[in-house]
């Protein structure tokens, strides 16, 4: 546990794998820059790994003033305990006021472990971070320049604002894509600070046996996002738009019976009573009128976007978002909007 340090830096943990930084790290650098400017303090990035020095310039271009580089061959593959040791050691040494992590599987494994060791607070999955003065409603004490950690809770039905009054650093995880990626500035100056952290063999509790990152493939049942096209797509050529949107969004391609029967796409993509029943986090129905047989196979989806030229199409009865328009115009706009966020 460290006491509040009002001059402390704003830090980001730099998650990297096989020598490349996770996108969320670059997004967080931009947010950290904004918070640090409000506070009038520098941005620091902690970069542990093996042969990762080359990544420092990218972090500086993205907003870092200092990159704390911890090079060790034993940090080549992520392991919770040695990585937590690195962060705790540096946090105790430099006493940053804020530490941000990506809410990735790795970040959510590491961050709580660091928080526990520091006996500090940790807020998961923040959707916004702000600096503000806060008066403790109990003691009426004014705390200047706290980090407001804003996040949904209870299945997204409420928005909670979390603060840490006195047990610092203030730490949070943020999902990829929530903070905008700011354009890099290659002419920014920054400093690389090399740090050595003692990593005892006894800290290496895990041994990696095998690792497999799956190539993206069509699996309707398992897909988080499905982009489905119907008879309204009009031709096999135009069905490429459906594929393109699915590719950009990282989803699977589905189809209504009308599209399959018209020969736009294979039957293995059919969704509905006679096809596959799906309940993804997001279902985009483009040019699908929404016959009851189709709706039966997708209406349990958490979010449904319907795109159709006919405002009376039954698909709108199960949709959360409706776009009355031509999919040949709307889908390219979606692709463009998604690509812009990636940049």
């Amino acid at each position: 546990m460290i006491a509040p340090n009002r001059q402390g830096e704003v830090w980001v943990f730099a998650e990297q794998e096989d020598g490349s930084l996770h996108d969320v790290v670059l997004e967080l650098c931009g947010k950290a820059r904004q918070l640090a400017d409000t506070l009038g303090v520098p941005v620091g990035v902690v970069l542990p790994g093996h042969q990762v020095r080359g990544l420092a310039s990218k972090l500086i271009a993205q907003g870092a003033d200092r990159v704390y580089l911890v090079e060790d061959s034993r940090l080549a593959h992520f392991q919770t305990i040695p990585y937590a040791r690195v962060l705790c050691t540096l946090i105790e040494k430099y006493r940053p006021q804020i530490v941000l992590y990506g809410a990735t599987p790795l970040g959510r494994d590491l961050a709580p472990r660091v928080a526990s060791a520091m006996q500090a607070g940790m807020t998961a999955d923040c959707t916004d971070l702000q600096i503000s003065d806060v008066t403790d409603p109990k003691t009426k004490e004014l705390h200047k320049n706290l980090l407001l950690q804003i996040r949904p809770a209870f299945g997204g039905n409420i928005i909670a604002t979390i603060v840490n009054y006195d047990r610092w650093p203030q730490m949070a995880t943020v999902r990829e894509g929530v903070m905008p990626l700011l354009p890099p500035n290659p002419s920014r100056n920054g400093e690389i600070i090399e740090e050595k952290v003692e990593i005892d063999e006894s800290l290496l509790a895990l041994r990696l046996v095998e690792r497999h990152i799956e190539p993206r493939k069509v699996n309707l049942k398992a897909a988080r996002v499905i982009v489905a096209g119907g008879g309204g797509v009009g031709s096999k050529e135009d069905f490429r738009l459906i594929y393109e949107l699915a590719g950009v969004i990282g989803g699977a391609v589905g189809a209504s019976r009308a599209a399959v029967d018209s020969g736009y796409i294979g039957k293995e993509h059919q969704i509905g009573q006679t096809g596959t029943t799906v309940r993804p986090a997001l279902y985009i129905a483009a040019g699908i009128s929404g016959a009851v047989q189709h709706r039966a196979g997708m209406e349990e989806s958490a979010k449904i976007i319907a795109i159709n030229t006919d405002p009376n199409a039954p698909i709108f009865s199960v949709a959360h978002y409706g776009i009355v328009g031509d999919l040949k115009k709307v889908i390219p706009m979606m692709i463009k909007a998604l690509r812009e966020r990636r940049k």
Binding site: Q119, T123, N164, E176, L206, L208, H212, Y321
Partner: protein, 218 residues
């Protein structure tokens, strides 16, 4: 079961402290199993924080126990777009995801038998509601008898408070929680039916942004 008013308002740090103390009180363990996350806060923090306090290695997002022998486990964990298999020495803590196991159907006879199982706090509440305005002495007596009866039948569940697990009260409940909820806002649900998005670049951009913020995308 651990129940204590002084544990109220615990954040993940305090919750993991209380659970770690309870595990220490049990004393002997090879594997500590946790779910991935609770459905209220969705933080997925308590598992790793228990592991840290007990000084155990942690394996999160476990989806398969491949092998276990000689105090060593080989497990497969989900890492988002793929998986990895790791060896870990026991004792260790695992957080498990829902695809790891298809729960077997509950045995009807056991369900019937353990429907009557109680923790001491429930026994007292039940006795009080039955005896109503009886004296404290009578109630105490009835609670004692009922407790003994359940114990004989193997239906008395263990109940601990913070003293039983030798907890430092400064690390539990509100005093032990560094994160404070400063403000809570309900999300106002809009009209029934769908939200109409205009088929314009600005409309679409706003829609994509909304999907990212509410975590549907990304």
């Amino acid at each position: 079961m651990i129940t204590d008013r002084r544990a109220a308002a615990s954040d993940t740090l305090a919750t993991s402290y209380i659970l770690a103390q309870a595990i220490r009180t049990v004393g002997r363990y090879d594997i500590v199993l946790c779910g991935r996350q609770a459905i209220d806060g969705d933080t997925a923090q308590v598992g790793p924080q228990i592991a840290e306090k007990l000084g155990l290695p942690q394996v999160t997002y476990l989806e398969q126990l491949v092998d276990i022998h000689d105090r060593r486990a080989r497990v497969r964990r989900n890492v988002g777009r793929g998986w990895e298999i790791v060896d870990v020495n026991l004792p260790a803590l695992f957080t498990v995801i829902s695809t790891a196991n298809e729960p077997r159907p509950p045995a009807a006879r056991k369900v019937m038998r353990f429907k009557r199982a109680r923790v001491p706090a429930e026994i007292e509440a039940e006795v009080r509601s039955v005896l109503g305005n009886a004296s404290d002495e009578e109630i105490l007596d009835a609670v004692g008898k009922r407790t003994e009866e359940l114990r004989r039948q193997g239906l008395l569940l263990e109940q601990w408070n913070l003293d039983d697990i030798h907890a430092d009260l400064n690390r539990c409940g509100l005093p032990g929680s560094p994160t404070k909820v400063f403000r809570v806002q309900a999300i106002v649900l809009t009209k029934k039916g769908f939200t109409e998005i205009p088929p314009t670049e600005e409309g679409i951009r706003q829609l994509i942004h909304e999907l990212v913020v509410d975590r549907t995308l990304g």
